[in-house]
């Protein structure tokens, strides 16, 4: 039944998805707690024209993607981290522009080159060693940053007004978070693509958020859930010949819906019975 995992390319995909789960498990929780989910989606989509450009001009895809993502992080992202009014409509605007420019570039400018579908939805089964190395780098950075900057990220998100008095108002930690999210989004591109990046980066964290009350269990739970979702999606896509990125996204979304429904049912039950949970 699990002979899929006998194939070297499936094994490499499994390693990729497991390493990405570590990055998603730590960064995903910060994305959700700091209200940066839409930013995370935007930064992944913004990386798409970078991918096309890199492909057409013949330099490393992840470099092109990260260049554009970084630009996005430093402009729109900084507004989002400060919870400025209007950053979400700006994110939406840039997201649409990035997708449109990417598609135009891919179809008209670099005709022979990029396969738009692969760039948008990823190709987990054809990741190479460089993709895995990038994922490992991001996972290590995410863990280190969580350990060192985590308390500041938590304090600023809890009470932005008090941050300056607490000595946590320096914008550097927030900037580091934005750049890390951009890097993580780029590292998920090869696996699940620009449009499905949030399936790994946001959805598992949002799911586990509903059943945890502290950062550490939330982060551990998200890592485990992302790993399980990725593994299940990989296996299922191999068995059914469906695209792996989309399969992982469907499973992640389905689990989110199940947990949300379950929680709603429990809340309704306790309300009607009048007993505390």
């Amino acid at each position: 039944m699990f002979e899929a995992f006998d194939y070297p390319f499936v094994q490499r995909a499994l390693v990729e998805v497991l390493v990405l789960s570590v990055a998603a498990g730590t960064l995903g929780t910060w994305i959700v707690v700091r209200g940066l989910a839409f930013y995370a989606h935007g930064v992944a989509a913004a990386a798409f024209p970078g991918l096309v450009l890199a492909d057409g001009l013949g330099f490393a895809a992840s470099l092109g993607a990260f260049g554009v993502a970084l630009l996005f992080a430093l402009t729109v992202g900084r507004l989002a981290a400060r919870e400025r009014e209007g950053h979400d409509s700006l994110t939406a605007l840039v997201l649409v522009a990035a997708l449109a420019i990417g598609v135009v570039l891919a179809s008209d400018v670099f005709e022979s080159g990029a396969n738009v579908e692969t760039l948008l939805f990823g190709s987990l089964l054809s990741v190479d060693a460089a993709d895995v190395r990038l994922a490992v780098l991001v996972a290590v950075l995410a863990l280190l940053a969580t350990r060192t900057l985590g308390p500041r990220w938590l304090a600023v998100g809890f009470d932005p007004g008090a941050a300056r008095g607490l000595g946590a108002r320096s914008s550097l930690p927030d900037l580091a978070l934005l750049v890390l999210i951009a890097l993580a989004a780029v590292s998920t591109l090869s696996a699940v693509g620009a449009l499905l990046s949030t399936a790994l980066l946001v959805v598992p964290a949002a799911t586990v958020r509903m059943v945890t009350r502290r950062m550490l269990p939330w982060q551990l739970g998200t890592t485990v859930l992302a790993a399980a979702t990725g593994t299940a999606g990989l296996w299922l896509s191999f068995e059914t010949n469906a695209p792996p990125g989309a399969t992982i996204a469907v499973i992640a979304g389905g689990l989110f819906a199940l947990v949300a429904l379950g929680r709603g049912a429990i809340a309704m039950y306790t309300r009607t019975r009048g007993v505390p949970a």
């Binding site: 007004g161 008090a162 300056r164 008095g165 607490l166 000595g167 108002r169 945890t212 502290r214």
Partner: protein, 256 residues
């Protein structure tokens, strides 16, 4: 008192969000060990003044000098009740400035946070989720955060709103203790009667109306100018003596 350097000194301070100030002509000083009640209607500038003190807004005119960084006890927004932190986690946030950026809170910081929670009477609830605590307990957790921070200036934004009598009493005692340790305490409040117990009052209504000891400062004229309405005197309610009641401006315009 005049030889002690004040913790806060404002001179003809004007602050606002754009070019036009929403609060102007503010001149007051907060010496160590004093509690100042900040009175004023909604939109009168209490929160704007606090944001200037916290460094979120820069003065548009005049000067604002702080001898120390502020600790703050903000009102708890609903969205914050869901935040994944315990009371101890919140108190620990006060220890950020005291350690290098790469360091995680250590045993010493945890001990300080637990001590601060014990001081505000929440030792047993240290591991409870912040959002599960009562309103009064949440305010005291935030006071504990200011204690860990060792803030010499403590700002409290409407800290008594929605608290029961026991919680109000506990918080008032805690503020007295903070002032007793030489900290300066600024409390935004709606309750004029409560502010009478404090050292000074600062009355704001888009500009400074008055500043001084409550007994001399809180005249009918000052209250009327502060709240922009009419004041009536209610005499002899159940032996309590005279009490003031405030009528909203243009109350006669209401439809009946």
């Amino acid at each position: 008192m005049s030889d002690v350097r004040p913790l806060v000194r404002a001179e003809r301070l004007a602050v606002g969000y754009g070019a036009a100030p929403v609060l102007s002509d503010v001149s007051f000083a907060l010496p160590p060990g004093e509690r100042i009640g900040v009175l004023g209607p909604n939109g009168g500038g209490k929160t704007t003044l606090f944001r200037a003190l916290l460094g979120e807004l820069r003065p548009l005119a005049g000067t604002l000098d702080l001898a120390a960084r502020c600790g703050t006890v903000p009102q708890t927004e609903r969205s914050r009740l869901d935040y994944p932190v315990s009371a101890l986690d919140v108190a620990l946030m006060g220890a950020i400035a005291g350690r290098p950026w790469w360091k995680h809170p250590g045993r010493r910081e945890r001990a300080a946070a637990r001590d601060a929670l014990a001081r505000v009477g929440l030792a047993e609830l240290a591991d409870r989720s912040f959002g599960e605590l009562s309103g009064g307990q949440r305010q005291r957790v935030l006071v504990a955060r200011a204690l860990v921070q060792d803030a010499r200036i403590v700002l409290l934004d409407e800290p008594f709103t929605g608290l029961d009598a026991v919680s109000i009493r506990r918080l008032e005692d805690l503020l007295d203790e903070l002032a007793g340790e030489g900290r300066g305490v600024l409390i935004a409040t709606h309750d004029v009667e409560q502010a009478r117990a404090w050292d000074r009052v600062l009355c704001l209504n888009r500009r400074q109306i008055a500043f001084g000891p409550p007994a001399e400062t809180l005249s009918l004229d000052v209250l009327a100018a502060t709240y922009g309405g009419s004041i009536v005197t209610l005499s002899g309610v159940a032996g309590e003596g005279e009490r003031l009641a405030l009528l909203p401006p243009h109350h006669h315009d209401h439809e009946h």
